[in-house]
């Protein structure tokens, strides 16, 4: 034991704590609490006084509401993108940006064949993309010395849900697999370009949701279509990258673990112990706390119980499993941080 420190673990800043957890590095005094997806809820919105849809479309509003995840709740990360529609809007879909009680939704799916895919030359200048880049820059300037700033970009599979439509796209898995591959190939450069732009703007890491969830497609489909695409994308994304897929995914975690992601943001319905086993130390696990059972319907004690279960299971960074319900009470979110502060 080192006499100077009495063996005490270092108290890392939120940024270092999170990045160490994400990259499989040394452990400080406690686990990081992170939010790879949105923690905006009505109580937080009212507290900060920044509302939807402005927080989706105005960089300063976006940054201010996002920062509340650190300032008010105490997360170690700041995630400024609250919707999953930014790319869809830039790629020609009509988007309803919603309000305090409704998240944005894509209203039209204009793409009917891979030949219809057009990637604008000024993709990064499109308002829905630029607003996130600007918000990341603002946050980097204000918080970059202590908090981890996260970017977010949809993967090509999720982009297809929006531009082609979920039903029309998914049925192609059976009807015309070559068309599925052609779509993924066509949209892959969009994901790469936006991820790298967010890293240049100051993101410490990017979250990459690509919703090939267990409720929708099989592990075999995941391996056939997504794995090769993710491998190639990750070779071209220049910073730490976190995959997000909701739902049951235990059957595909072994594949995810070999794709080259630094982190995988997972849901509580995949038992954290089994998820850690399936990941085999090849990818860090983040999230793990149930949005519905614990955060929305539960008490701070319920949240604490799930958080501690995750920590004991060996999950690398705890947080909500997905974008939280807008009605989630703040005290439940704060219970995540309280559980983390108890240490390993």
């Amino acid at each position: 034991m080192n006499a100077k420190t009495n063996g005490e673990k270092p108290d890392l800043t939120p940024r270092r704590r999170f990045l160490a957890n994400l990259m499989g590095g040394r452990k400080g005094k406690r686990i990081s609490a992170s939010n790879p997806t949105s923690v905006a809820c009505v109580e937080l919105i009212e507290k900060v006084g920044v509302h939807f849809p402005e927080a989706h479309t105005d960089a300063r509003a976006m940054a201010e509401l996002a920062a509340a995840g650190y300032e008010v709740l105490g997360f170690d990360t700041i995630m400024p993108e609250f919707s999953v529609q930014q790319e869809a809007a830039a790629l020609g879909c009509e988007v309803n940006w919603g309000n305090d009680n409704m998240m944005p939704e894509t209203m039209t799916h204009p793409v009917k064949s891979p030949g219809d895919v057009v990637i604008p030359d000024n993709l990064l200048e499109k308002p829905s993309i630029k607003v996130v880049l600007d918000a990341i820059s603002l946050l980097r300037h204000e918080y970059g010395d202590r908090v981890a700033i996260l970017g977010k970009v949809m993967g090509p599979w999720t982009i297809c849900y929006h531009t082609v439509g979920v039903e029309d796209f998914l049925i192609l898995v059976r009807l015309d697999p070559d068309q599925v591959r052609a779509y993924l190939e066509a949209y892959m450069p969009v994901t790469i370009a936006i991820a790298n732009a967010q890293l240049r703007a100051g993101a410490d890491a990017v979250v990459l949701p690509d919703h090939a969830t267990g409720a929708m497609v099989s592990a075999g489909t995941y391996a056939e279509f997504l794995v090769p695409v993710h491998h190639r994308m990750l070779a071209q994304i220049g910073g730490p990258t976190i995959l997000h897929i909701c739902g049951k995914c235990l059957d595909r975690i072994p594949d995810i673990a070999t794709e080259g992601y630094d982190g995988y943001h997972f849901e509580w319905q995949n038992d954290p112990k089994k998820a850690v086993e399936a990941a085999g130390g090849q990818v860090s696990l983040l999230g793990g706390i149930s949005n519905i059972e614990a955060l929305l319907q539960g008490t701070p004690d319920d949240v604490h119980r799930q958080a501690r279960y995750n920590i004991e299971a060996g999950v690398d960074s705890i947080g909500p499993e997905c974008a939280i319900s807008l009605q989630t009470p703040l005290e439940n979110l704060k219970a995540i941080i309280a559980a983390a502060e108890e240490g390993y």
């Binding site: 939704e105 049925i171 409720a215 489909t221 909701c246 519905i292 929305l296 319900s325 807008l326």
Partner: protein, 211 residues
């Protein structure tokens, strides 16, 4: 004599063209359209539903089967109009306000139609009051609500409260579903039934109305 099991098999495989061809052939050979539905299409859909629930089938398989079912029902529609369509119950169904996800709901609506329910599909992004008005107007036996987002799930609870306030709650069974919805959540908001997935929707609705 038509072999209805072949129709069930074609539907199970999601082969729309084959399902339609076999349905046409059965009808041409004089088979009763209601028998074609019961022993062919419903049998096929039951198999698909079970395989989906057990994890053997996934959403693309369900979509293929629902597409085949829909096409076969269109073939049978003129004949059914002549014989009359016996219904076992009325269902008002929709995806709640703020939610634009309707695949699961569409599959369930198709399954229910094919199993003898009269289905009034309100589509997606349905305001709470619209559900309540339609339940009243159609004298629905069942209200089915779908939510695919954790952000829109609470709307289902608001509709149930609205039914109570309108004095309609005791006259209609409420069934909820959607990927993030759980049995616990269904209990929490006071729903009568919960279908874990599209494959379970038909048996749950049948049980609720005792058919």
């Amino acid at each position: 004599m038509a072999d209805f099991s072949l129709i069930a098999q074609a539907l199970d495989q999601g082969d729309r063209d084959k399902t339609v061809a076999l349905t046409e052939a059965a009808l041409g050979s004089g088979a009763n359209p209601q028998e074609i539905i019961a022993q062919g299409l419903q049998a096929g859909m039951a198999a698909v539903g079970e395989k989906f629930s057990s994890g053997e089938y996934f959403l693309p398989d369900m979509l293929m089967a629902a597409r085949a079912m829909k096409a076969a029902l269109e073939v049978l529609a003129p004949a059914l109009e002549q014989t009359g369509i016996p219904t076992i119950g009325k269902v008002v169904i929709g995806t709640v306000e703020g939610d634009m996800h309707d695949i699961g709901k569409n599959v369930v609506a198709t399954f229910l139609s094919g199993n003898g329910f009269e289905v009034f599909d309100l589509g997606l992004n349905v305001p709470a009051q619209k559900f309540i008005d339609e339940v009243k107007e159609k004298k629905a036996d069942i209200l089915g609500m779908s939510a695919l987002l954790t952000t829109t799930m609470p709307v289902m609870g608001r509709v149930i409260k609205g039914l109570e306030e309108a004095g309609l709650r005791s006259s209609v069974k409420v069934v909820v579903g959607g990927a993030p919805v759980t049995q616990d959540y269904a209990n929490y908001i006071g729903a009568d039934g919960y279908a874990h997935d599209g494959g379970r929707a038909v048996p749950v609705c049948r049980e609720l109305i005792g058919k």
